[in-house]
Symmetry: C2
Subunit: 232 residues, 2 copies
Amino acid sequence: MAVRPQICEACSIKDLTFCSALHGDEHDQLRQLLTHAHYDPHTTIFHEAEDADYVFNVTSGSVKLYKLLGDGRRQITGFLFAGDFLGLALNANYSYTAEAIEPVTACRFPRQKLEKLFDKFPHLEKRMLGMAVDELAAAQDQMLLLGRKTAKEKVASFLLMLARRQEHRGESSETINVPMSRSDIADYLGLTIETVSRTLTQLRKEAMITLKDNRHIEAVGLDMLEDLAEGL
Amino acid sequence: MAVRPQICEACSIKDLTFCSALHGDEHDQLRQLLTHAHYDPHTTIFHEAEDADYVFNVTSGSVKLYKLLGDGRRQITGFLFAGDFLGLALNANYSYTAEAIEPVTACRFPRQKLEKLFDKFPHLEKRMLGMAVDELAAAQDQMLLLGRKTAKEKVASFLLMLARRQEHRGESSETINVPMSRSDIADYLGLTIETVSRTLTQLRKEAMITLKDNRHIEAVGLDMLEDLAEGL
DNA sequence: CGCGACTTTGACCCTGATCAAAATCCGTGG
DNA sequence: CCACGGATTTTGATCAGGGTCAAAGTCGCG
């Protein structure tokens, strides 16, 4: 948990990801595969239903993943930050759209070649499976949030998630960075921007958070947010 | 898609699952691992946060998976039927509770031993990864449902899901089997039992479905349900 | 400094929740 | 086979959390 993440010298992937399991030879082969990619804000990294030819490893910036309904309603299924893995679709197509929020740098791997490397180094595949299982658990938490939590609980859970992941990346969780817009938050929590805004001011008035500016929030105490988030 | 599922003679696992990738020697080793288990309705197969010592393969019956909030609010994260895999938690603990709805039979594998087998037969692990990725895509669809669909769209999506999986198992999708209670449906869709009930009668009045009895529904046409479910 | 985009706040509304009661289902025992 | 009783489901009446529409306030970049 308290492991300080480090940039892997060979491929500049944070060692939070599967890359850190590699050594020497393996690492070199992985490095030969990848190309470095850069995406500006509001740029699409890939589209839902597009051929899943690449997988990515975010090295900086932030990304949102989303799905759309026929009439344009949007559900953001997740946010990615430095160290997160992207495009874990071993099937033919991506199941969501990925779009940069802040300027993003990422390592891009051709999926086919990466899979061949899996055959050579099975523990790489093991690591991939572990990541998929973690994501699955996170997805189930999010279902609980979307299906059963109140607006206030949703927002508290969201802030807590940001704080925890910030910590996990080795950044201070003193002030919470909120790179995404209110609209993104709303579509992530199954709310409207108005409700997100109102709920944040409510939390502020109840002295649970301080709004430093639109993109920076300070939590007075994470424990209060935790209790809220768990429905206690 | 139209593959007729068959019970694998060796271990009685439906060939819809990873077991069908095995042959001869591999199959024997897998068979030695498993024990057959049976669970009565309303029986818990495992609890959230329990040590994840086993993984399961459902061979008959139906299962619900759920998570709880501190005050008892419940979110059902999925239903499992014959051929479905259960307990895909490679971490130490299960991330949800699994409970039998109808009488369940399942093959039970000790996780540690199964993982050792993975080292011997890497394509088994590949298959596992594939299943995890599929589940992940399903989880994202469910997030879209929970966060952005109306009650009517949720119920339509639910019926469609049941019909499709029934078909996938090789059963007729003429009449949809609904083994779970209204309360289970509600907790799966993020609604209340009253809303589920009202929505079903509404769909009946609009002649989209016929309620044969509480556990059997006939869809007049799946295309209408599909349009509803996709928000068109 | 000015303009467009984003966010907040306010007033009102609607979908789905809650509370309550009637109807139906289903297992049990006479 | 039917009568009973608890559990589940349906239906009805009312309520409220969060959505919608509208306007004012901020932010941020040129």
